[in-house]
Symmetry: C2
Subunit: 267 residues, 2 copies
DNA sequence: TAAGGGTGTTTCAAAAAGTGAAACAGCGTT
DNA sequence: AACGCTGTTTCACTTTTTGAAACACCCTTA
């Protein structure tokens, strides 16, 4: 028995089921059959068939007539395009990132919370010894990246516990945190200090430092992280300490944009 | 009374309503209030409130706590990212486009059908006197662009009539086709010749030529268009005639990729 | 200050939609 | 030919969805 991802009690259960189907797609599962999906989501095949037909009819899924399997459809990219244009955050981030990128070798990331994952809204490589590891729209876990930890730490305790009990709380590398105690310890540290670090817990050779972006109501609406190649930095501690004020500064600059404006944005 | 966009009878009406809400967002309407949305979609405000709460709970919408209005949420860009990686069409198109782009001044577009619109999956500017006018995820009408006409022409007659009766069949410039007779005449011509043209019917100064991309079953799965600045071409007819074999060649090359492979694609 | 027009939200009985076990039909492989 | 898989249909049952009305709130206007 599987419990629905983030959500406690949503008013429209049928719609919620349809959205669960959309969220079942991932980099490792790009297409689904009806019964396969029904098994995964613990739903009746007849129900899944009806929902999937509706999703496909509206362009959110596409049916491969050969294999009878379903993949995501073109409707989603239209929505994403609208989201990226209307949402000022990525624009602000790019503007700020660009004013730093030619001075540092790090990669810059802006991400926000989506369910139990970070979803990246803007990325930029600095003078780039490492390539950007995640692109806009990509997502990573909340416990395995600096950005994820930042976003997680500022959520409610009940949210954090729900995440810990979810299937997404799992190991990506040997150093990924898998112990709730350790995670909670880091969360308290993050809440106290206002920044998060990551030592190869998602990608082996990449470390990162992250700081929160606040809106006018002092809610965390996004996070910023700087990523660096770990093997190029002999004395880690010293360098990471240098990064902390930098990532804070960048995050604060973005916060200022967010708080200054709030809705005055033209596509 | 408004009839749902593309669809005749979808099995899950509640889900369909939720998707209609998502599709209500457009470049000109990036945020909605509950009652506003209810009016637009001819639904009960209570119903809209329930659906919108569910959509927001799953990350497909975001509620602005200040204004109580809803905008698209981060879940959509994750899906779009997955779509772009799993769908081989954009990759094929870029590969083919790049082999032509340094030889011509035109812009290259790949688009597919989404409801009653073209949605663009890949764009590339050639040696570029004009900037790209639409980006991936952007959409235009089916009667006002060459690409749109191609995609429309290969649909069923009943689909075409439904489109003509929809609100999307409207003028963008003074030369946009608004007369059903004229549109039908062009559709028959396109079906006969296999290509479509556009003389500033969507953007005043831009003309284009388009050709269809076929899958293994000879269904049109996408279209390709080349756009050129109209004011730079004194004798239009001659130049357009030169473009036709070119756009056909490009479309056919992409068709070959599509037909060769069909599902062997690694993200 | 009060009225008016806008907003989102709640109620609850009536109505409609969703549900799912089982049976069916089709396609490969065993 | 039997098995195991697929997606699909049926139809009585159950549950969810529905919506008019009332409510509460925030503005702007009179």
């Amino acid at each position: 028995m599987e419990q629905p991802p983030v959500i406690e009690m949503l008013p429209s259960q049928t719609l919620a089921k349809g959205l669960r189907i959309l969220n079942a797609f991932s980099p490792t599962r790009t297409s689904w059959g009806i019964r396969e999906l029904a098994r995964e989501l613990d739903m009746n095949p007849a129900t899944v068939a009806r929902l999937v037909t509706t999703l496909a009819g509206a362009g959110f899924l596409e049916r491969d007539p050969e294999t009878q399997r379903y993949a995501l459809g073109p409707a989603v990219i239209k929505l994403a395009n609208l989201y990226m244009h209307h949402n000022p955050l990525p624009h602000y981030a790019r503007k700020v990132f660009e004013s730093y990128s030619d001075r540092f070798d790090y990669n810059f990331y802006l991400g926000t919370l989506n369910g139990y994952q970070v979803v990246y809204l803007a990325v930029l490589d600095g003078r780039g010894r490492i390539k950007v590891m995640v692109e806009p729209g990509g997502s990573t876990g909340l416990h395995s990246t600096a950005l994820g930890k930042i976003l997680l730490a500022y959520q409610s305790d009940s949210f954090i516990n729900a995440f810990i009990n979810s299937r997404l709380f799992r190991a990506y590398t040997e150093t990924t945190i898998t112990d709730p105690e350790t995670l909670w310890a880091q969360i308290h540290e993050i809440r106290r200090t206002g920044y998060a670090v990551n030592h190869g817990e998602h990608f082996h050779d990449i470390g990162a430092v992250a700081a929160p972006v606040f809106n006018r109501r002092q809610e965390v609406v996004a996070g910023v992280s700087l990523a660096y190649p770990r093997n190029l930095i002999p004395n880690l501690q010293v360098n990471v300490d240098n990064l902390i004020p930098l990532v804070r500064e960048i995050a604060d600059n973005i916060s200022m944009y967010v708080q200054g404006d709030a809705r005055s944005h033209q596509p």
